[in-house]
Symmetry: C2
Subunit: 465 residues, 2 copies
């Protein structure tokens, strides 16, 4: 995965060939692009020019590059398919976001998944869901069951979401809300709408690991801002704004993933003020917001959905299988996003929107979420106590949610611990899967709802030695 001297091809000529091929595979060299001159390549690789001449000659014989008289060598191979794994900077699969995601989503195996980001299905609202399905079977209209809906999504659900936003202090009208299939899809659409390859995006360090992987697919330049117990470190934030002129800051305000920390009001105010002269767009992912016991400040509420784009979903509270999230933002941007949604995937499911709406409408959602909050709070205490016995301590005491972001005992390497645990069928999420800078070597994110029984702790005890 890295351009290193360690590979199967032993010769210098082979090394040069391999380097060019890797860069073509990663789309760093696209068809028709000029590759470095013989002299430049020889200097940068520390090899002789004749070595490079031979390597380029062989690549030309294979049809991978093409010489043009007097002007060097050009890429002749067709464009390589987008290879997200190749684009990874992470050489250890345990901290590679793609690997962690694939492991978490893989079903059926007998593995424990304290590294995953959701509640066990036994916590989910079975009776509400079955009732919603029965009601759709009985009363669902023809259009709801069979037709494409409008690109913005079903009106009823958009109105319900608007009302919920107002309760959270976010002033919005339904024309500022679009239904998506997920929070991830919402972020992806916003990135397609606002980013060009090479644009800088600020993320929290640490942040949800899929932010790293998703931004890689957009070929964004990702820069991390250290996340403290109160929100991002503002002095670093200010200097990164000036140094990188980022286009987007992608963050969670309440119950930040993975730290569980929440933004304070002064930090929210100063962050918005600092970033205003730069025209920074803030994408606020509020997917865990409903798990907060006391709502913390929301950038979307402070800003009034001007530069802030709010995204969320019902995957964590109602059902990840229903694929239902949303975007709330400026109405002119929403129109552009709806066009983009339409041409790239038509619209979200009216049936799924109806199922979600029927669960939101009758007050049982509120009771369900309250029950979960209480249960989460108990579970966090239990897990915290058990981890403490292993010398594993949380970074902050989260005000809600399912995560504990914890430091392992001195001398432990989380990636190594994750590898050892994996061998015992325990899938962990080690710190550097979340860190842009690779500074979270000793951290692990634990999902307190996926740690029933003693098996996880026993595996941890063995792994940390």
């Amino acid at each position: 995965m890295v351009e290193s001297a360690e590979h199967l091809e032993p010769t210098l000529v082979g090394q040069v060939m391999r380097l060019i091929q890797t860069r073509i595979d990663r789309r760093q060299y696209t068809p028709g692009a000029r590759i470095p001159s013989v002299r430049a390549m020889a200097e940068s690789m520390g090899v002789s020019k004749s070595t490079v001449v031979e390597a380029y000659g062989r690549l030309a014989a294979e049809g991978i590059v093409q010489p043009r008289l007097g002007s060097g060598f050009y890429v002749a191979a067709p464009l390589a398919p987008l290879n997200l794994a190749e684009l990874s900077a992470d050489t250890d699969p345990t901290v590679d976001p793609l690997w962690v995601m694939r492991q978490s989503l893989r079903p059926g195996e007998d593995s424990l998944r304290p590294g995953c980001g959701w509640l066990p299905e036994s916590w989910m609202p079975h009776e509400m869901m079955r009732k919603a399905l029965r009601s759709a079977a009985r009363d669902g209209s023809g259009p709801t069951l069979f037709e494409y809906g409008p690109a913005q999504g079903a009106d009823t659900l958009r109105a319900l979401i608007t009302r919920r936003l107002l309760e959270q202090g976010v002033e919005a009208v339904p024309d500022q809300v679009m239904i998506t299939d997920s929070c991830t899809q919402a972020i992806d659409l916003v990135c397609r709408f606002l980013l060009e390859p090479g644009d800088t995006v600020l993320v929290d360090d640490p942040c949800y690991f899929n932010f790293k992987a998703l931004l890689r697919a957009h070929r964004a330049h990702v820069v991390g801002v250290p996340f403290t117990a109160n929100g991002p470190d503002l002095s670093v934030f200010a200097s990164l704004l000036e140094a990188h002129r980022p286009r987007i800051y992608l963050t969670n305000s309440g119950l930040q993933n993975p730290t569980g920390a929440s933004l304070t009001a002064p930090v929210a105010h100063r962050l918005l003020k600092l970033s205003e002269p730069y025209g920074l767009v803030i994408v606020e992912d509020d997917i865990f917001g409903d798990f907060e016991e006391q709502p913390s400040p929301r950038l979307a509420a402070f800003d009034g959905l001007d530069r802030v784009v709010r995204v969320s979903s019902f995957s964590k509270t109602l059902s990840a299988s229903m694929r239902c999230g949303y975007i709330a933002c400026r109405p002119d941007w929403l129109r552009g996003l709806a066009d983009l949604r339409m041409v790239t995937g038509m619209a979200s499911s009216p049936l799924n929107a109806e199922l979600v709406a029927s669960m939101l409408m009758d007050g049982s959602y509120r009771r369900h979420v309250e029950r979960i909050r209480t249960r989460l709070s108990q579970q966090r205490q239990i897990v915290k106590t058990k981890l403490a016995r292993l010398g594993i301590v949380p970074f902050v005491e989260p005000a809600g949610g399912m995560f504990l972001w914890c430091q392992l005992p001195e001398g432990c390497d989380a990636a190594k611990v994750a590898r050892l645990a994996r061998a015992e069928n325990v899938v962990l999420a080690p710190g550097n899967a979340f860190s842009v800078s690779g500074a979270a070597t000793r951290f692990v994110r634990f999902n307190v709802t996926q740690m029933e029984g003693d098996k996880v702790y026993a595996a941890l005890r063995r792994a940390i030695g």
Copy 2:
């Protein structure tokens, strides 16, 4: 929408300013890019250099561009959001794909939609769907109702799709199949996987209008190959391969949209042979395939899913609300596509996959589709006869499906007819919405299932005068 001399700003200076701003809005000039020199701009616009100097000076005063001593002017404005409407080359909204799609998807209005691309909900399998929902309510497992599924989609449905592919002569194993939310999303993922902005994509002329809009979102260079009654015009196809070295050819083999024509076996064979030396990838969209009375040749079957990527969905036959389609392709590409799917939207809905699988499994799907085929055949005859009375005649006699691609009487302009019909609440799909070259001025695509009663014909009679 076009860079014309006709706008509100009357002065030459204003014209220059407007041109630069438009190109920034369209992302032709991105932040940091150098705009044309004063001399080049003066020459290309046919104005004096002092006019350009004043225009650039005013743009600099507004912070839109920035002068750099001795090297010209550079874009200082932030990147404009992606504006698909601005990227349109179509100045008449009636033939703009985005407009036609928005009109078709807009629900509830009392308009007739012979321009839309789906069956009325009254044709859809109500009892099958309600039964599937009841069964999910009763027997749906916890994981199916609440969890994320694997990125490739639910195993049961992938196995069923693989079996259906085999019946159609397409050799595939489940590891070559991924569930998507729609055929459109399938195409979008393949484009993200294989295309760079500026790459050439071949489409049929005419083709489904959203191909044009979707490829615009990828900033592809779209080139049309004339579609004949037997498939694409192969001599043009050959010369376009040589001239443009396209990366992808996006087509429908059976019941091509909009013409209703189907590929013949010799054309399929020659097309694959011609394109092989160019490494052309063929994306075969088979969304209307199940409406064919006799299956026509499929490129995916001839090629064995090597260079051909097959995409389809159940939106036309079962329900567009369920959002369920698929991709079948080479296993190595499928792994890359699954990663891309995962990081940009996690996975498709296990619940919706279960609903589709339960409808496919018990044999009622086959009977449902057979009933629809018979009804479509009758309806095509009825509509053909009624249109003939207005002097409107089909391009070919389709071997199935819901579309008649028809030529209006001499002297008629389909865009004008569509505008007049729209005023009577009849949404038509005029030819140039489908044509890349704009050569389908006299054509209209009629959906024979959306033309009950006399209202559409009466409106047509008045519109064609």
